[in-house]
């Protein structure tokens, strides 16, 4: 029976490893949505990769029924949110589908940067925040400290926060009671024109696009014609229903306040953008729901096949993956060094890494990727404005009036003892210090404005390394800022290698150029000819290295019994060379193209 007052829509905010998925499992168990024996670990994360990365990439939602201590049965819709910095916008839309959020904090570790960032997102969306202290059975657990920390940092009461161990099933029931009592019932008018918020969608080879929605107003029935308000695209609804952890439960009608799915023979997720509003074609809503924006890629790189003959397979992989990921862009490009490939845009570094891994794993392709770069905004001397996402296309300095680079708002939470270290690192990376807050006596939240360009060069790994893994990071696009940029080129044997060019602040050019030349020297094996390596800005050489020619590579004896073995050996050697790129007379291994990625080691 539909009763909007008995619906609770909520999500869980937690740092990686703080127990979000485990808690979700326990909630499902308690509401008997999942039979124990059927249950795979952590049912909400259903992509293998997610499990490996320990993160959730695509939001999912599950409908639970719970008989509360007041004797009433409630419908609890648990909406999962992506847990990583690159998916900020998607998180904000998933939260917009909820009235409340559980803030799960590890009793031994306290609040982390992403948790805090997502909590602020939830507070901005007027969500009720319900703190939960998890892992209370750990020896290092200090729930009192963590509760004080939540109260001090976020400014919400937390003394009633359930103290639980999701892993060992301690006190989890209290969480469900808290949801029923603390999360407001949705508001919304089931008789108003339909407005349903898309908070996730994905492509399924058999069903087409499956759209996850939260109905804000109105109702939707099977067979009706729907319209996407941002694009105007219309579709006939083939099936609607609720989401169970193990599949779709079709129903006839969804009403205001409910969460469910729509299937409408939609071919691509580009038509079902997260944040868009679904309405009825016949009786459309006057205004879409607020907050929609198209997620624009922030990080770009070139993706090529190690085996050039598999270009079509790469195209196929990107075509298929994009069915499921509207935020990844790709366009064919050609590199003199690497042949035919694609310029791909991603929301952030992690998004990029995940997609690269998926291409390699799911499509069995060996990739060469060029250094990731950001989008520069250039005002040309003729007044026109261009955005450059590929260093190869960077115009000559004489034609640029002003160059700007993207700056991100950066939050870093670290133990107080590492404040100096973090500040030093941020300074090295051209960060501008804004302010700093003590979360408690031992932990600090540092706010910086940093060029995104600096963050994508190994920043997170370096941050982790220098803080012994304790620091956490969150960033968000802020603005474009004028910057003194130059294009750094690499020449091998006097020939420019386009795939190795990159844009760098001019103050960094010499150091980066020298380092890259050294790295390349280490990565390019000796060969028949000497290989001069040069780093250049325009026609000016700023660094030079040489890979000496091979000194000795000869088998002294080759008589009757040695011929076959020798031939096989040389053939094997030749096979290894296939993994190298031939640039004129020089052979460059794939690793050399990746060397630029690890310059700061």
């Amino acid at each position: 029976m539909y009763d909007i007052s008995k619906i609770r829509n909520f999500s869980i905010i937690a740092h990686i490893d703080h127990g979000k998925s485990t808690l979700a499992d326990r909630l499902l168990e308690l509401t008997e949505a999942v039979e124990l024996r059927e249950m795979e670990d952590q049912v909400l994360d259903n992509m293998d990769l997610e499990k490996e990365h320990g993160i959730t990439i695509k939001a999912r939602a599950v409908k639970l029924e719970y008989k509360a201590s007041d004797g009433e049965t409630y419908v609890l819709n648990l909406i999962d949110t992506p847990g990583h910095v690159d998916f900020h916008y998607e998180v904000s839309r998933a939260l917009a589908a909820c009235e409340g959020a559980l803030l799960v904090v590890d009793a031994s570790q306290g609040i982390e940067a992403q948790t805090l960032a997502n909590t602020y997102l939830a507070l901005d969306g007027d969500l009720e925040i319900l703190p939960v202290v998890n892992k209370i059975d750990l020896p290092a657990a200090d729930p009192d400290r963590v509760i004080r920390e939540i109260e001090d940092t976020i400014g919400i009461p937390a003394e009633d926060a359930p103290r639980i161990s999701a892993k060992n099933g301690i006190n989890v029931e209290a969480v469900l009671e808290q949801v029923v009592k603390g999360v407001p019932a949705p508001k919304g008018d089931a008789s108003a024109p339909l407005r349903a918020l898309i908070f996730d969608s994905y492509y399924d080879a058999y069903r087409g696009v499956v759209v996850y929605v939260r109905l804000m107003d109105g109702s939707l029935s099977k067979g009706q014609r729907i319209r996407m308000m941002s694009t105007g695209a219309e579709f006939d609804v083939v099936e609607i229903g609720y989401l169970s952890p193990f599949g779709f439960r079709p129903t006839d009608t969804l009403r205001a306040g409910e969460v469910g799915y729509i299937m409408a023979s939609i071919k691509t997720v580009c038509d079902t953008r997260v944040g868009d509003t679904v309405t009825l074609a016949e009786t459309p809503a006057a205004e879409p729901l607020p907050g929609y924006k198209k997620a624009n890629p922030m990080v770009y790189c070139g993706i090529y096949c190690a085996d050039g003959s598999r270009y079509e397979d790469l195209r196929d992989a990107l075509d298929k993956l994009s069915l499921n990921d509207a935020s990844m862009t790709y366009e064919p490009e050609h590199s003199i060094a690497l042949g035919f490939g694609f310029r791909c845009g991603f929301l952030g570094l992690l998004h990029m890494e995940i997609m690269q891994e998926r291409i390699e794993r799911e499509y069995n392709l060996d990739l060469i990727t060029t250094a990731p770069g950001v989008v520069y905004r250039l005002t040309m001397t003729d007044g026109s404005v261009v955005y450059i996402d590929n260093p190869t296309n960077y115009p000559s300095p004489a034609s640029i009036a002003e160059a700007e680079e993207p700056i991100v708002k950066t939050d870093i939470i670290a133990p107080a003892e590492f404040v100096g270290t973090v500040m030093e690192l941020c300074k090295e990376r051209r960060g501008v210090f804004k302010n700093m807050e003590y979360i408690d006596a031992s932990r600090v939240d540092l706010h910086y404005e940093m060029p995104l360009n600096e963050i994508i060069y190994d920043f997170f790994d370096t941050l982790k390394a220098r803080t012994r893994g304790y620091a956490s990071l969150d960033y968000e696009f802020l603005k474009y800022v004028k910057s003194d940029l130059v294009k750094l080129d690499i020449l091998l044997n006097g020939e420019l290698v386009d795939a190795l060019s990159f844009i760098v602040p001019s103050e960094r050019a010499y150091a980066r150029g020298r380092k890259l030349a050294e790295k390349l020297k280490d990565n390019i094996p000796r060969q028949l000819f000497e290989v001069p390596i040069q780093a250049a800005i325009g026609s000016k050489i700023i660094a030079r290295e040489t890979v000496r020619a091979l000194r000795k590579d000869v088998l002294a004896k080759c008589y009757g019994g040695d011929i076959t073995r020798k031939k096989k050996l040389l053939e094997k050697q030749k096979e290894g060379k296939k993994r190298m790129r031939q640039l004129g007379t020089i052979e460059v291994p794939q690793e050399a193209f990746m060397a630029v990625l690890k310059l700061d080691e």
Binding site: R551, Y559, G560, I563
Partner: protein, 363 residues
């Protein structure tokens, strides 16, 4: 009919040298004789019976461990099975310590016209380190014995880049060898095989730059002394190139007799199983192991692999057209020469020949 050679293997050594990982074993009492009988039987049962042999090479192991009687048995089997009337070269390998005038007389009487003797170095300390059983003085003596008996063609083996060897030590070895005036010389850069005694001791190969220097020093010394550097490790006075080995490098066919001997007949490269006991027990009637079938494509690969080892090189047309663009840069770098439509490596090129070959071999 293609020219056909024969390789005979003697799988015994009194002691294994420290750098060796070849198949050989110390002979038990009577083992050499029973082996010689099996070898003779294998020769007599050859499917190529009746054909003319271009060259014969008796290698090892240590062929000089064969007694005159054993040798006579094998030689007769060869003569009675094949036509040796036009045999252009009959080589026996030997070690200085086991060569005797009686044995050399025996070889000569059976048509052997060339001996290849492993001297390795004229330093007694280095010889001991290498596990050799002879001394420098014995090597000199053995050489003189060969000459006194009337052996016309003598080839001497030398090793370079021995553990702790200096350039000047190598130079004195080269000078001592030149002074003996052999017709042919082989000089090998010592390669430390992981399974050899030196390898197991953890002895490292000499520094690449030193090996290079030694190789080029050898080239300069020997060419100055009138030797032609005609293959990566081989040098000959005019008219004295090793015909049998050159036959290998020209892709010629050869029969294989004895355990672990390799052969190449009708496009098939094969090997006699390396099991002396089984070989003797079956009286030489063992099934060869096929190692490779050399069809047109493989033959083209082998032509480059083998041809580029020799100073005669290969015709430019043997290189695939799309790879020919590499030839000029190699010449400019001093690694090769191009003349009269032939492409050949220089001494500097020989030093990196594996890399050159793997570039030029067809895919």
């Amino acid at each position: 009919m293609n020219k056909l050679s024969a390789y005979l293997h003697v799988p015994f050594c009194r002691r294994k040298c420290a750098y060796c990982d070849f198949y050989s074993a110390p002979p038990a009492d009577g083992a050499v004789s029973s082996y010689a009988k099996a070898l003779a039987a294998q020769i007599r049962s050859s499917p190529q019976k009746g054909r003319a042999l271009y060259t014969v090479y008796l290698g090892g192991g240590t062929p000089s461990l064969l007694s005159p009687d054993d040798f006579a048995l094998i030689s007769s089997a060869l003569r009675e099975t094949f036509d040796l009337s036009s045999c252009a070269e009959f080589t026996v390998e030997c070690n200085p310590e086991s060569v005797t005038p009686a044995l050399v007389d025996c070889w000569l009487s059976h048509g052997v016209d060339r001996v290849s003797m492993g001297i390795q170095t004229f330093s007694d300390a280095a010889l001991a380190r290498l596990g050799r059983l002879h001394t420098a003085a014995r090597a000199q003596e053995a050489y003189q014995e060969l000459r006194r008996c009337g052996m016309k063609k003598v080839s001497l083996d030398l090793m370079a880049a021995l553990p702790d060897q200096t350039i000047s030590q190598l130079e004195s070895d080269l000078d001592a060898m030149i002074a003996l005036s052999p017709e042919h010389v082989s000089v090998y850069l010592l390669k430390i095989e992981p399974r050899s005694a030196l390898g197991r001791e953890g002895v490292a190969e000499a520094d690449e730059d030193l090996q290079r220097e030694m190789y080029l020093t050898t080239h300069r010394r020997l060419t100055a002394a009138g030797f032609e550097h005609y293959e990566i490790s081989n040098f000959a006075k005019s008219g004295f190139r090793a015909l049998h080995n050159s036959h290998y490098w020209q892709g010629g066919e050869y029969l294989a007799f004895g355990p672990n001997a390799s052969g190449f007949v009708d496009g098939v490269r094969f090997r006699i199983p390396a099991d002396t006991a089984a070989f003797c027990a079956s009286n030489g009637q063992v099934t060869p192991i096929v190692e490779d079938v050399v069809d047109g494509e493989e033959a083209a690969r082998e032509k480059i692999l083998l041809g580029l080892r020799c100073s005669d090189g290969i015709p430019v047309s043997a290189v695939e057209p799309e790879k020919q663009s590499l030839l000029q840069p190699l010449c400019r770098a001093g690694l090769a020469t191009l003349s009269n439509g032939r492409f050949a490596l220089t001494a500097e090129g020989f030093l990196v020949s594996d890399a050159v070959i793997s570039h030029l071999m067809p895919e």
